[in-house]
């Protein structure tokens, strides 16, 4: 199937390929990853008991690791209903593909900001996530967790107590996408209506649980 997103690039690239068959032609596709809503709801979840924002957990850690995974949704339907994503991962599996990418934010900078949740987005703005995202249908999932990136390189379920927030995209093929990738967290509607630790953990551990 012709890639609509890259059609113009492909023509130019194909011409270049004819001129140089062994030239290793490639097309570049640059996308922005954006949080849905200002502030993003997935970062505004609270502890069930205290009703304190999960993000405040960062006060005990100098750094916040912003961990991004690409979950394999090959063969899934194109729907974005959280209930479907949950069921699909539970039945078919949606393991992470490609490398886990991570960037660190200063807890101090975030927590001392007037609007910490918004400060996260501001701090991340313009930072590269990955230069070559995995192919195929996948879900982009970003988890904010206490600690350093080095503590979270292993593809294992997160410790629920460390979680600060989580957002995910709808299933999509990044190579065929022209529009920005939008992250949100709709699991609250599936689980109980309140965006709490349970909702955050459901998002953060999607595809990681045994």
């Amino acid at each position: 199937m012709k890639l609509r997103a890259c059609s113009l690039r492909q023509v130019a690239c194909s011409i270049a390929c004819v001129a140089s068959l062994a030239g290793g032609c490639e097309a570049e596709n640059a996308l922005d990853v954006r949080f849905l809503n200002q502030p993003p709801l997935g970062l505004a979840c609270v502890e069930e008991g205290t009703r304190r924002p999960l993000l405040t957990r960062a006060v005990t850690s100098p750094t916040i690791a912003v961990v991004t995974d690409f979950l394999d949704f090959t063969g899934s339907e194109s729907t974005c209903r959280p209930g479907y994503l949950w069921t699909y991962c539970a039945t078919e599996g949606c393991p992470p593909v490609g490398p886990r990418v991570c960037t660190e934010l200063s807890s101090r900078d975030i927590l001392l900001a007037d609007e910490p949740v918004r400060a996260v987005a501001v701090s991340l703005l313009g930072q590269p996530i990955v230069s070559d995202a995995p192919d195929g249908s996948l879900v982009v999932r970003t988890t904010l967790v206490r600690g350093r990136c080095a503590d979270h390189l292993e593809l294992a379920p997160f410790d629920d107590a460390e979680l600060l927030g989580c957002l995910h995209s709808c299933p999509l093929e990044l190579d065929a996408t022209e529009r920005d990738v939008v992250l949100e967290n709709d699991f609250a509607g599936v689980i109980g209506g309140l965006c709490d630790e349970q909702v955050t953990a459901a998002c953060a551990n999607l595809g990681l649980e045994e």
Binding site: E26, A27, N29, L31, F35, I129, D135, L174
Partner: protein
């Protein structure tokens, strides 16, 4: 778009076929290698001349075709029998017996008459020699002559009414004696075999080798075969029989030409092996192309060393038909390699390979989807679009 592509493909395929056709002709011509040939074109004018011009033109066949006419036919070498037997009869009536005998005594005259198949003259000569000899008193000569008349079974001439009854009785008595003698067998053979055997001036009795029952005595045996000089001889057949063996000599071109005209002579006969090979003798050439032009078709034969190697027929007498016939006959004769079918040409498969490779490259170019590298970076949050 599709129509334009289809037209382009058709053009390319047509061009390929044109190139292949040219290549076929070129290759076949190259294989011919300029073999020198002699060509003879026979038939009625003006078609013959027109065809001869086409054959003679320098063609793409790369054979050197020189057109030559048939040699002039040899005049009839059979000497006309010019014996004035009327004068002999006048001498006989005037009792000028010496003069009478002198006009018919020469045996060469008899040979000439038999050679010319002039049986009547031969019979009359022997008759008058018998009559003159009897009147002259030379009974031995008279008997010999009467015997020859009988032995050769020549017809009794009408002149018998002009002589005295005793001559007539003498002739019939000798004839009776000859008929009463036992006959003997004459075996005739020749190299090559198959020659027609004429005996005592009469049409062919058999073809060699053969045996003939004859009255004993003197006979004239003549052998005649296409492509060979005729051979005639007087033989004496004894009571125990005899053999006559002859090695024929190759006919001179003029003789062969005369034989061809006499026996065949039609353009269509070129396709017959004996006729073609006779023409091969008439036009001595190691490689000979014969073209016969009829009103609406052409026939051809190719001879190598006098033997037919290939022949062909083509309907139509147009210039292209002549060229096609020449090619056909020379191909069948092994002079020209048959033009290979286009699918047998390596060039075809090279072109097909190039075309397929080109088509494959074009398809690959059309279908090729280069690998896409997607890079991600954090962007501005976006406000929810509420429905």
């Amino acid at each position: 778009m599709t129509g334009g592509l289809l037209r382009a493909v058709v053009r390319v395929v047509s061009a390929i076929f044109v190139v292949l056709s040219s290549a076929t002709a070129t290759i076949a011509s190259a294989q011919a290698g300029g073999v020198p040939l002699t060509a003879v074109v026979v038939g009625d004018e003006p078609e013959r001349s027109a065809a001869a011009r086409v054959v003679a033109e320098r063609s793409a066949l790369s054979v050197e075709l020189g057109v030559t006419p048939l040699p002039e036919r040899m005049p009839d070498t059979r000497r006309a029998t010019t014996i004035d037997l009327a004068r002999t009869r006048a001498h006989y009536v005037a009792a000028e017996l010496d003069a009478c005998l002198s006009t018919v005594r020469d045996d060469a005259l008899l040979d000439d008459a038999l050679e010319a198949e002039d049986v009547t003259t031969a019979a009359r000569l022997l008759f008058w020699r018998t009559a003159c000899a009897l009147a002259f008193g030379d009974e031995a000569l008279a008997r010999a002559s009467a015997e020859q008349l009988a032995v050769r079974e020549l017809p009794m001439p009408l002149d018998v009414g002009s002589v005295t009854p005793d001559v007539e009785r003498f002739l019939f008595d000798v004839a009776a004696e000859v008929r009463a003698r036992p006959r003997a067998q004459l075996r005739v053979s020749s190299v090559p075999i198959g020659a027609r055997v004429r005996l005592d001036g009469r049409a062919a009795r058999c073809t060699t080798p053969c045996a003939i029952e004859l009255a004993t005595g003197s006979h004239h045996v003549a052998l005649d075969a296409d492509g060979f000089e005729p051979a005639g001889a007087q033989i004496a057949l004894a009571a125990e029989g005899g053999a006559h063996e002859v090695t024929l000599t190759r006919a001179r071109p003029e003789r062969a030409s005369a034989q061809w005209s006499l026996r065949y002579g039609r353009a269509a006969d070129v396709a017959l092996d004996p006729a073609a090979e006779l023409l091969g003798v008439a036009v001595p050439s190691r490689r000979l192309l014969l073209v016969g032009v009829e009103r609406s078709r052409l026939v051809g034969a190719y001879l190598e060393d006098g033997v037919v190697r290939g022949r062909g027929v083509r309907e139509g007498v147009a210039e292209d038909d002549v060229r096609a016939l020449v090619r056909l006959v020379l191909e069948r004769g092994g002079v020209l390699a048959p033009a290979p079918e286009f699918w047998e040409l390596p060039e075809l498969w090279i072109i097909v390979g190039v075309v397929l490779a080109g088509a494959g490259a074009a398809i690959g170019w059309a279908l090729y989807e280069p690998p896409v590298h997607t890079s991600l970076r954090w962007g501005e949050p976006v406000r929810e679009v509420t429905p």
